[in-house]
Symmetry: C2
Subunit: 428 residues, 2 copies
């Protein structure tokens, strides 16, 4: 079942789908060559939005926690991908410490952890679960919805290594986005493989770095396919040092919002799109996160900012703000807006779900409390498009396209992690 | 659905299943370490037999042609495995020439080819089909049962390369066992990747080499699990220079058949097995193939050989014969004996089917005309055993065990291809 597209099925997306299908071997080879030069993130999840006139990623996570949403028939793919990933990073690996976030009251998250334990055990590792919750002092059994149990254990840090009682892992896999900063137990671990690396932590990432890399990837890919990169790229601009203090001048932000809205308007005109353009504002640096603000007209900017300005402490330092082209989603499930989220391990798509939210509009973020997840469509053969099927009519073809776009964002994250690696050797 | 086991479910196989499940991470790690030292065959299929008291491979093919039997939901696994294999062997690969055997009247084989084209296209290669049939002189369209078409093209050989008209492949994948010898078009191709290599050809392989390597692998694996390797290893003996001429002395063969029957009898006594032992005789070298002869008592040996002896031309050279412990199959589908056949690409299990034959007995080979194939059980999660399920009661657990044994045989084939590689560098 393909989620219902609100708009007509004869838009640019269908041309894009057709072009992507026709170019399948070239696309896969292109990815293969990219992976010769770049290392994919260990795992990732990418949210993609289909606006009917364009199809673009809107967020790239490096700590995927939706393994509970994958349907069981897809798990062998995850196991195989995990085998390939481990073999590449650390073939001798024996013990894996999986680090859980503190949100272990959430039964969905616990099932996600259970799935990860299963996947990495099956890939040939002894897996134990450590907790990033510093208040957890004893091994603690938690019960899952299916009645099975997981044991969360307190971490044991020595000057050089991190482990559990009687468990010295060679590899540590973090399954929490570290949005609140880097826990000190994870600092200075030079003898163990820490996955993902600390500079992938949500608080340290800069969206502008990611989207600049994505733009580069999208341009290369668009060149391969002979198409306009805008069809897959959300335009963005960075506005440095925005001062949230009441009364502060934010002329730079006003100018840039207006300029980006103008750029979108011109693109809409070029493609005959009637949708009203909008932009979203986000903190560039993860640790400055203020959520997602939607702005449709520069006149409304200050009104949109008002709650944020009101909440800003006197003397708070200015922050960098990224302004992004807003991508509405035209897909619906049960009349609620829906967006596919693709989960990857290493370079492989291992599953996908639809995120839906009955209380949100098609031009709003669905990543807020109340979102539901529907494992869907990816169950059969997202990797096996059906050449010859009418564009837009074949679920496998639609999902193949979504998987390609998600992998482009994942590739951009690979570029990003290389660029931001504090230990990278610099050749000049 | 697990095929029905004729015998009791409380035999050594269930202990084996339990031990294999408990040792899953150790087993997978062991394989991973083996793959650091050895290169898996590009693809393979292994027939495994479950005798209730032992579970062992009985044949290891290096030109799997049963991709038509795989259920479509398993194909993404094959694509992912193909991606990993290609990336390792030749990441820049662009054009793949898939070489079909001459048996293109067989609609099952054509569907197998169609599946291979799909898998490798999806893995990022431009795939075209060449025919090993030297009488095919023009591109020929053949129609598949589903109404789609495949084009078989005549080969174009230049002094150094093999290709098709307007198609110069960097990689050539043979999908025909080359039982009749090596086609001259495949000789001396030093600039292209030929997969599998020529010394994997059926006519050139020696069963004794394979089974000696398998014994070595089985011993290593049994040591890892702390068990008797006999539980997974069919014993064998090699009898060199057997003369098929009428009246020739075949005392050596008699002695060895009797000795192997005695060894099996002792093992049966050790395990309290009531089955009557039998051995099978096969030509050691593929090009000497005379089928499979079953012998239950050395007194019956000459009678079993009679048709072969009668058919031997005067002056025919003696050949090497391998004598193997016969493994009956205790699995049944619709009251016909059944045996699982596991298909692998690179190191990964990508699917499996049951071969059944209504006209054959449980101690006879099922690989004869009239065999049927039932894609089964492997559909869901052969890679995802369910720890905790009662031994013998869980299809995923049964199939995981079968997949492990099949991979041991595939690993033995890796050893074999290294040992028989004519271009191998020798370090002494």
């Amino acid at each position: 079942m393909v989620p219902h597209l609100v708009t007509t099925l004869t838009g640019p997306i269908n041309e894009l789908e057709q072009r992507i299908l026709e170019s399948m071997p070239a696309i896969e080879r292109w990815f293969r060559l990219e992976w010769m030069e770049h290392t994919p993130p260990f795992y990732s999840d990418v949210t993609v939005r289909n606006a009917a006139y364009k199809l673009a990623p809107v967020s790239t996570g490096l700590y995927p926690d939706g393994f509970n949403h994958l349907i069981p028939t897809m798990l062998p793919l995850a196991v195989q991908a995990a085998m390939a990933a481990i073999e590449k990073i650390c073939p001798e690996a024996k013990n894996l410490l999986l680090l859980a976030g503190p949100n272990t009251q959430d039964s969905g998250y616990l099932t996600n952890l259970q799935r990860l334990v299963l996947i990495f055990s099956q890939a040939g590792l002894n897996v134990r679960l450590g907790s990033l919750d510093p208040t957890l002092l004893q091994p603690t059994e938690v019960t899952l919805p299916d009645g099975s149990q997981l044991t969360l254990e307190p971490l044991l840090r020595t000057p050089r290594r991190l482990g559990l009682k009687d468990f010295d892992p060679c590899t540590i896999l973090v399954n929490h986005p570290l949005s609140e900063g880097t826990p000190s137990v994870l600092e200075n671990l030079h003898e163990q493989y820490l996955l993902p690396p600390l500079h992938a932590g949500q608080s340290r990432r800069r969206l502008s770095q990611h989207w600049q890399n994505y733009e580069e990837v999208a341009k290369k890919f668009a060149k391969l396919l002979g198409m306009d990169p805008w069809l897959i790229n959300p335009m963005h601009a960075l506005c440095a040092d925005v001062d949230w203090q009441p009364g502060a001048g934010r002329e730079g932000l006003h100018t840039q919002v207006d300029a980006l809205l103008g750029k979108i308007r011109r693109k809409h005109k070029e493609y005959g799109i009637n949708d009203k353009p909008f932009v979203v504002l986000k903190a560039d640096l993860g640790s400055d996160d203020f959520g997602v603000l939607t702005v449709r007209d520069v006149k409304d900017l200050e009104a949109a900012l008002a709650p944020l300005v009101a909440a800003t402490a006197p003397g708070a330092a200015p922050i960098d703000v990224i302004i992004q082209e807003g991508i509405p989603t035209c897909e619906q499930l049960h009349r609620a807006p829906a967006e596919p989220v693709v989960t990857m391990i290493d370079r492989y798509v291992v599953g996908g779900v639809y995120r839906t939210h009955a209380q949100r509009a098609m031009d709003e973020s669905l990543t807020v409390a109340g979102a539901e997840h529907v494992p869907l469509g990816f169950d059969e053969s997202h990797q096996l498009p059906k050449p010859g099927a009418r564009p837009g009519a074949s679920a496998p073809n639609r999902f193949y396209m979504v998987g390609v776009i998600a992998r482009l964002a994942m590739l951009a994250a690979a570029y990003e992690l290389e660029a931001t690696d504090p230990d990278a050797e610099v050749y000049d």
